[in-house]
Amino acid sequence: MPSGTVSHGASGRLRGLFLVMVLVFLEGSVFTVAVASSDQHSPTTAHSGGHKATDHGSHNNTGKAFPVLDLNYENVRVPFEISLWVLLASLMKLGFHLVPHLSNIVPESCLLIVVGLLVGGIIRGTGETVPPVMDSKLFFYILLPPIILDAGYFLPIRPFMENLGTILIFAVVGTLWNAFFVGGLLYGVCQIGTETSSILSRIGLLQCLLFGSIISAVDPVAVLAVFEEIHINELLHILVFGESLLNDAVTVVLYHLFEEFSGIGSVTLLKGFLGVISFFVVALGGVLVGVLYGILAAFTSRFTSHTRVIEPLFVFLYSYMAYLSAEIFHLSGIMALIACGAVMRPYVEANISHKSHTTIKYFLKMWSSVSETLIFIFLGVATVAGPHDWNWTFVTVTVILCLVARVIGVVGLTFIINKFRIVKLTTKDQFIIAYGGLRGAIAFSLGFLLKKEHFPEREIFLTAIITVIFFTVFVQGMTIKPLVELLAVKKKQEAKRSINEEIHTQFLDHLLTGIEDICGHYGHHHWKDKLNRFNKKYVKKCLIAGERSKEPQLIAFYHKMEMKQAIQLVESGGGIKMPSAVPSTVSMQNIQPRPPTKPAPERAIPQLSKNKEEEIRKILRTNLQRTRQRLRSYNRHTLVADPYEDGLSDLFLKKQKMFQIEKKPASNKVPMIQVDLASPQSPDSVNLLDEFGQANQQEEEEQGLMMKPPSRPREAKKPSEEDEAKDPQKLMRCLSDPGPSADEDEDGAFLP
């Protein structure tokens, strides 16, 4: 993980750590002062308000001088505190990676909870009341959606669909089993027993079942946080993660069901039946809402070619609206969000520009990372704050029952599932699935939402929930990594898909479809093929702008690969051979710039041989001549021309050229291909170039992107040595930001 910091010396790291600590102390003290002064300051503002009113008429009051420096905290209090919290969270993240070895042993989620405990302790220690940060509204409407959207947008569709049956069974049947098992047995334990059960025996069956349904849901945030760091193989990851996402529908239904029932107090068979129906409504309704918004988003993105700046905003807005709309009707917001992200992604990505794509990626990762950090910190704070009622029996029985229920559930379900799977789940897999069933903040927030009137034992519940969360996150979270190593579970393969794999995979898809046709068996491939045909024929035409709707996936994939390679080529300084696949590990928490393939300590001008330089100059010169004629007036809504997007076509030229030069010095007749990317205006994506880089005059029509920075007063005829030499450097600088290199996300998910 922290490969980027290896190069720093130990002293550098310690220095950084010290600075972070100082910052944190400063911030912490400001925070407590802020919290304290918020109470003291209200009389002062009232006083000054009154004073200003009386000053109106008479100038007799010459007492107070004009306040040159005034302190008014009340106005900025709320945004200030929010920013402080977010700043604290981000500094914590920084700090963890500076401490050597810590992030290898302890998962970040544990550390963040500890930090939250500390902060809560400090606040309580200074005598203030701890702010109720874990407000359910805040959690469900602000903190949770970015994480889910990030997960849904980058969901690897292929493995998800392939294992959908298994995931659904785990999510639905598994959660139901857990809920009833835990709830029922807990009720039994409460009824029998010692004298403390006089408190416990008041807890009714429905309350126990409600508690069971809250506690039994595997939490996506916790799973993501822990599984990100252990790099487990894709199958297990998607099973546990998919389960954590899809069980939201079950949790929502059970929660509302039992809440209703315990409010009313009577259960009838009809209500039970309605409960079952409502499950389907909640789940399918959520998905439907998500799909609708996804299609809307895709359709909108078709027309954004002139306003590229706000493209990412549409993605975020539509997804958030999908979530909120689902919440209006008490449908499953999480499923809506996942469906929206997954549906809109292929179409939106075909429509938007490359920069918007990077923006979306970066923003999603940033928001979800910050959200996750905040959630864990708040959990810690809420633990210190929240009203607690510790009941030994209840808590220990809950923890034990949760573990037992999970294990039995997983083993039992796998036994059934394996009868239908081609790739069976082994014991090791089952262990990891059972062990990875972490509970998290969703359970806590749901518990927090309970109303005191219906649930007098709310505090007992909350304490038990927090204990279970702590147990799973700390104990299971910390030990899962060594266990994975111990059991030698298959790790994630750093797969960078090659064009060969793509071709062969498509070939095999067709082959299998044909075989299934011959067998008369309407299997997996048959339906996938039908879906693809439908997609190609109708959907793509509506939702993708211009000519890209007809672009087959293989070509799109090929374009992407070429572009990546061109970028790598420039970064590595005009490297000779094709850069081989660079494995890139990305987690939500560890976005680090990918170390360049050839380590270049300073971004020096690459050492190119003489005739290559000459070629580059020639190409750049000819292209410069053309593009200089496209000066338009500056407008805030057009993007400043980025050499990135423009220069890429040059890069292709350069790359092809250099490749040709390297490979076949003799032949002159190989045609070269310039590929135009994401520019819907150029209908035919292929221009023919001959070896001397004289492109056709086809790109005059590019709109919307085109201001050339006025600081390029170059003469076309005689570019000075220096300027030309600066160009590769300039390009390299612009391209030196590699962006979150989640290559496998893009490639894998893009093609179903």
Partner: protein
């Protein structure tokens, strides 16, 4: 029969029913027209090649045993029988499946996929949506990536290597044939 290339009797029966339903003129063997009557196969870009795989060795009819033998390539292998519980595919079944796929590429059976053969496959799959130059460049790049011994063609080993990350056993299995 415990070997992994045979099909259980229940499934054999199902396959026989299917064979009979395909065999429209009830001659006890299948001819190319019977295959072509399958609409899905006609729309399939490599439908023709699949058909030819059945009619190997120059005959123009397929009897039931050859039918079964070809389809047995797609039988899901039972991994759990593996004694040490390892999750790998049985190497022999994987190789056999890959060999079958390889032969669909390599129409002239010279043991290599030449550039022209690759181009043909690409043309069939991508159809009229792309230009010839794009096809050429894709084929060029594919060969560059996979061709380790620089003979400008993809041999079976190179083919296997380029698919080493793909789970062939799962991909090339039809549960119908268990």
């Amino acid at each position: 029969m415990g070997s992994s290339s045979s099909i259980s009797s229940a499934h054999l029966l199902r396959l026989y029913d299917r064979f009979e339903s395909l065999d429209r003129d009830n001659r006890g063997c299948l001819s190319p027209d019977d295959f072509e009557a399958l609409g899905g196969l006609a729309m399939n870009p490599i439908g023709g090649r699949i058909m030819e795989a059945f009619f190997s060795s120059g005959q123009d009819t397929v009897d039931f045993s050859s039918f079964v033998r070809i389809l047995a390539h797609f039988r899901p292998t039972d991994r759990n029988r593996n004694k040490e519980g390892a999750q790998q595919e049985l190497p022999s079944s994987r190789t056999r499946k890959l060999k079958f796929a390889f032969q669909l590429y390599d129409m002239d059976r010279d043991g290599k996929i030449s550039r022209e053969e690759l181009l043909q496959v690409l043309r069939a799959m991508l159809g009229l949506q792309v230009t010839e130059e794009q096809l050429q460049s894709i084929a060029e790049r594919a060969i560059q990536e996979a061709d380790l011994d620089k003979d400008d063609a993809i041999s079976f080993d190179e083919f296997k290597k380029s698919l080493e990350k793909t789970d062939i056993d799962t991909k090339m299995s039809v549960s119908f044939l268990k």
